[in-house]
Amino acid sequence: MKDNSIEFKIPELGENITEGDVVKVLVSVGEPIHVDQALLELETGKAAVEIPSEINGTIKEVLIKDGDKVKVGQIVIKLETHQKEEPAVPPTDTQEKDSPPKNRTSDTPKIKEALPTPPSPNPSATDTTSRSHVPVRAAPSVRKFAREIGVNISEVTSSDGRITVNNVKAYAKQRLTQEPLASTNTGIPSPSIPDFSKWGKVGKESISTIRKITARHMAMCWSTIPHVTQHDKADITDLEKIRKHFKQKAEDAGGKLTPTAILTKIVAAALKAFPTFNASIDVQKNEVIYKKYCHIGVAVDIPKGLLVPVIRDVDKKNIIELSVELSRLAEETRKNTISPDKLQGGCFTISNIGGIGGTHFTPIVNFPEVAILGVGQATHEPVYIDGNFEPRLIMPLSLSYDHRLIDGANGARFLRWIVKAINEPLLLALEG
């Protein structure tokens, strides 16, 4: 008899992504599944993706559980195909080679849509007497101890299989030394919140995975990086003229010549002039890492949260090319078709809220980067020039940086450099 069971492996998720955390296993043993049905939700870096099935079949065995770390290529689920003879993955024979390569986005996992879930907790009346697996070999007192110090007992191992309090302690110690920076635990416990329904009607919604990741990342950035925010103003009157003049050119190329697109180029030039802004701090090794490449992230606001797609090698592209690429990345981000590797590897982030309004704000540095530029809405202001007030278009800029690496004077110089490059667009060509 032909064995029609298929091993499902974690597919390639994108460049430089080798592993991820299982947020949620979405299927259970015996469940029938169809092509493209999401099997599990995976968290890689900042993105959560759903991994779809490639076949129609039935789940035979689930080898992972929520919270597990998995590697690309790891077997995570065993499936049984419905069609007995047809192999699940088409063989790569000569015919296949002739056909055009598959569109990459169609088999890369999609960014998960944040669905509103019923209010927490997630109670279900279950029979706890029978278990389908051999339970954790730890006494009730040991399980209680692990729970109280926040250790998942199923992750603890021991030489003879019996878990003791000492095994739990050793595991906790190892975890603490392993990831000092990744931890968001600031040592200050989150206070419990009052029951607001005492004072009026409230609505509840579970926090989406994207929001959870954002919250964790932001809390970590904010609590581990000593921030300074420097404010300045740039006169974009001339730049705006140039922008309008060349707008059509960008549109012909399929892009949109936005102030942000131009700013990426200016920032890339500034990073070249100020290498400490294109760096990261390795606290564990007491090292500063300088990047010889220039990838710039641009924050894109989508309904479920904030994502930062990254434009590669900004210094090697012209502004028209950048405007085309930025338009495409923003579009992919909004449509949830962006692959997770395009959300990684940034050197510096630009966050432009000018489209919404407002002036200066204090952006949070996007770790492991060391600086971020916040852009406010440009408005006409009277500027005193040669004895007269002239209406000029002024753009508010806010630069937050990591004060561990960047001194105040350098911060001011960096932002001044950007302001001057905007005021006098030719500077870019001369020095950038």
């Binding site: 019923p118 209010p119 927490s120 907790p121 997630n122 109670p123 279900s124 009346a125 279950t126 029979d127 706890t128 007497t129 029978s130 278990r131 389908s132 051999v134 339970p135 954790v136 070999r137 730890a138 006494a139 009730p140 399980r143 209680k144 729970r147 109280e148 926040g150 299989g161 019996r162 878990i163 419990s192 029951d195 329904s197 005492k198």
Partner: protein
Amino acid sequence: MREARSWILDTRCLILKGMMNSTNRSTHVVVIGAGPGGYPAAFHAADLGLNVMLIDEEVHPGGVCLYRGCIPSKALLHVARVMNDNDEAEQMGVTFAKPKVDIDKMRSWKNSVIQRMTQGLGQLSKIRNVQSIQGRARFADAHHLIVDQGGKEEKISFEYAIIATGSHPTQIPNLPYDSGLILDSASALEIETIPEKLLVIGGGYIGLELGSVYAALGSNVSVVEMLPRLLPGADKDLVTILAKRLKNKFEQIMLETRVAEIKKEKGQLNVKFEGKNGAESEITFDKVLVSVGRKPNAEKLGLENTNIKTDSKGFIPVDLQRRTHEPHIFAIGDVAGEPMLAHKATHEGIVAAEAISGEKTVFEPQAIPAVVFTDPEIAWVGITEAEAKEQELDVKIAKFPWAASGRATTLERNDGLTKLIVDRKTERILGVAITGVSAGDMIAEGALAIEMGANVTDLKLTIHPHPTLSETIMETAEVFFGSSPHFYQKK
């Protein structure tokens, strides 16, 4: 601590005022139902320093377990045991006169057992400063209860609530309940009369326990069960031993048979049965005991005024901390799901109280023991052999028949079996099952073994006292390795 105390005093003043003005009382924690889930929850919450209110329809804590369940049934089963022992003493050379049953005296003795225990709980409640309210509570909204105290209604406001309302016997529709001849577990325990012919509908543990009581008291007991065997939750080999003895004690056991109709005729009940192949029969009984399971008491609680919704079986869904859809309202015991067992409810009650006081706690037992208090008793904990088979677990089963137990022979009770269900790879104990006298007391060792993650060698190398029935557990572990002194296995 001093501050906390003065706060409690303040609250008491408020309570006194409340009583005089009949305005509303408020509490930090309210526990609805004072059964084996509710009263330990209330007591533990009070011990943790919380301000607690306990609402129940009875004057003292105890619930169904003490008033109409575990305790009175065990008292009466003890009576049955004494009578049986007297019968069996004859072959040991002691002959007693035929027992004379004074049913009124027996009832009042049983009631005195209940009274002693529930009054004791009342005192334990009082010294903990738990405010007791006798009445029936329903939710007005997610932070208020209305308590009906015999027509007088009071509104109680609370920060946290624990629903521990238990369950009630399932009724079969369309039976002549107004005949007064149909019993449920509660009325059967009142032993108003000893019917000459009693039919027990349902071959579960309640039916078999109460059937055993009435059989010992002199009734001709028949049991009817729809399924092909008694006690469907327990492994077959355990039940076979019990069924053999029950066959002698009971008039008849009808399996794969259902009751088609019951009619009252001349002060008796005429019961029509429908057998396996549609075979019909008709028998007349003096009384019929309906024991076909229990249903959660989640209705009439005003849950519709909260966000709590029951599941398809009527249980209140809860998370690991026993929180309902309203995170400040907990549900424990029978109302929160299977298994409907008092000791499970108690443990859940402790977890809920700890969760309210802010402790990191969850309900995560590896095993919950189950005991059927028939004679012999059946007890099991962890996985059953049938469950292991169903889940296709790689297990090895070891059994030790009590024919080889010295202690069982001295008791003239060799009708027993001890069984271990062991994970073949790790030799971990996954399940322990026992049929025999005192099986219920012995199963605790199995529960501890599973919780501690013991393997068969641990049980084998633990010296058990001689001569006791507990030795059978050690000897079963020896059987697992192929060499038990009292049970020879061919190699």
